[in-house]
């Protein structure tokens, strides 16, 4: 749980490194806060070795991250009638990468379910390899969606910090062995923390806290 909180703080904190009180409206900022929380959740799930500590918790948390992503989409579609036009043919590439990352996450989760996992993969090693490859693709597609939709990450050094974080998580390998035993996060904790983080994100930007 502590590590999840750290990831939420780091990912959302990155956006505050430039013009922290720059808001786009309460609903818009809260929704984007949910998007950043989802990215933090994806990175948390991608930490090398964390899934092996508790596979069941990893699986349950992935449902919660998918729920945060769906809430992010749902909120936009509810609040802005023009948003629908941005997921139709002709939409900018960053919207397609966002959509593709959700679909890929869904496929990834389906392929990890037994008995499908055993049917599709020759061995556990093959499954683990492809699970990490597809997981990295989901994170990179999401990062493209976040970066190229612009607005919150405006400076080169913010992008460099995000790239470093992605690199540490996706290619850090042994760097994460130092992690002490963690208190397991539950899906309800992840959902609540994501909602709270999104509200705080919006409040700071719109109240000038």
């Amino acid at each position: 749980m502590q590590l999840l909180a750290v990831f939420l703080l780091v990912v959302l904190g990155l956006t505050f490194l430039a013009v922290p009180t720059f808001g786009a409206g309460w609903a818009w900022d809260a929704d984007n806060g949910l998007g950043f929380a989802a990215l933090a959740g994806l990175l948390y799930l991608s930490i090398p070795g964390i899934a092996r500590r508790d596979v069941r918790a990893h699986q349950r948390l992935s449902y919660a991250v998918l729920a945060v992503i769906l809430l992010h989409a749902l909120w936009f579609l509810l609040a802005d009638p023009a948003a629908l036009e941005y997921i139709k043919p002709g939409a900018p590439a960053y919207m397609w990468t966002g959509l593709l990352s959700v679909l890929l996450l869904f496929v990834l989760m389906m392929l990890a379910q037994m008995p499908t996992r055993a049917r599709v993969h020759r061995s556990y090693g093959v499954f683990r390899y492809w699970h990490r490859v597809l997981g990295a693709a989901v994170v990179l597609l999401s990062a493209h969606h976040v970066v190229f939709s612009g607005y919150y990450l405006r400076n080169g050094w913010q992008l460099a910090a995000l790239a470093t974080l992605l690199l540490l998580v996706l290619a850090g390998g042994g760097l994460w062995r130092w992690l002490p035993p963690l208190r397991r996060s539950t899906p309800v904790t992840l959902l609540s923390m994501s909602l709270l983080a999104a509200l705080a994100f919006s409040a700071i930007r719109n109240l000038g806290l």
């Binding site: 609040a79 802005d80 607005y151």
Partner: protein
């Protein structure tokens, strides 16, 4: 959690199919400004931009690139029409963002529907 996921997915699919029930107006794609392609409407009022220099937007006043209304070239000239979305997002929204970042009253910076409605004002 699985029930929540199914419920959220169904709501998203419903919204994708029928749109939001909370909208007072929906943008309608059409051949605006003589565009050969259907595009989203855009709203703009000169009255909201009285503190902006004319030439900041009307570059054709000084670079002699035509005397038609702005949108005419930007939707029909194939050398720029493909860039309509990024160019206008960068230009209009970029200016609004600079104003907002400076703590001034600005136009919309992100909400799509704030700009993408038919232009009813002068």
């Amino acid at each position: 959690m699985k029930t929540l996921l199914v419920l959220l997915t169904l709501i998203v699919v419903w919204l994708l199919t029928y749109g939001t029930p909370f909208a007072s107006a929906y943008p309608e794609k059409a051949h605006y400004y003589g565009s050969p392609e259907v595009i989203l409407p855009m709203t703009f009022a000169h009255g909201d931009h009285t503190e902006t220099r004319c030439m900041d937007c009307h570059h054709n006043f000084v670079d002699d690139t035509g005397g038609e209304p702005c949108m005419h070239c930007h939707v029909s000239d194939t050398s720029v029409s493909g860039l309509l979305e990024p160019q206008f997002h960068d230009f209009c929204r970029g200016c609004h963002e600079k104003e907002a970042a400076a703590g001034k009253v600005s136009g919309p910076v992100r909400q799509c529907i704030a700009c993408h409605l038919s232009d009813l004002r002068p």
